[in-house]
Symmetry: C2
Subunit: 110 residues, 2 copies
DNA sequence: ACACAGTACCTCGCTATACGATGTCGGCGT
DNA sequence: ACGCCGACATCGTATAGCGAGGTACTGTGT
């Protein structure tokens, strides 16, 4: 369960926002959890860096795709949870469709 | 034959070098021709911009994947042809494999 | 004769994104 | 007591693709 194939950042580019939205489809999650969810879902093939995560989350908030709230962990480290908005669901669908389309085109060119 | 689906630059990122190498697998080609070859191969879905082409070609030359020579068009516009080196063939194979891998991982995450 | 579109080359500077480095704070294991 | 991990965050950097612009020759329409 190691990171062998290590995809180059450029091949992941543009997909991280969609990828994060997807992790929020089923449940609200906090930042660190999103990173680990993605790592697990890819069997350790890809784990976004934290800097990447937070800049993406800021983008998603600014676009209105997600909203955040602090968890009520009365003791211990605070956790900031992110929820999908209705627009966020649409954005996920659009992102997934864009990926499908890009995949088809790139398969013809590579 | 129009550009409707217009893939976002970010989804193409990192693949253009490989894509150009591919056009050179069968025959030497000159810059403008590479652009049009890609446009045709994707049914107009993607056509790299010239600025993109030339910066990619400079990268490929610097890496030793391609070499260039001027065509002997005695009259009319000069054409600069690009040839794959042996290392360039390997680089294409590696790029194609990286795409295959990335595709599998991303399909699990999007 | 002249304008214009297309072929064909090229460069400069912008922007967005992913990431490396770094920092903070709390809890837990040894 | 100390370090490690969870969990948040920011700052700066590198790079790729592109928009805008520039040169030159050829062919076509009027």
């Amino acid at each position: 369960m190691e990171n062998h194939g290590s995809l180059s950042p450029d091949l992941v580019r543009g997909n991280i926002d969609t990828m994060i939205l997807k992790t929020l489809l089923g449940a609200d999650r906090y930042g660190y959890q999103i990173v680990k969810t993605i790592a697990a879902a890819s069997s350790g093939q890809y784990e976004p860096k934290e800097a990447t995560l937070y800049s993406s989350l800021r983008r998603l908030e600014a676009s209105g795709w997600v909203t955040a709230y602090w968890g009520d962990e009365s003791q211990g480290g605070r956790r900031k949870y992110y929820t999908l908005t209705a627009a966020g669901r649409d954005a996920y669908a659009a992102g997934a469709a864009a990926w499908d389309h890009a995949k088809r085109v790139l398969d013809a060119l590579l």
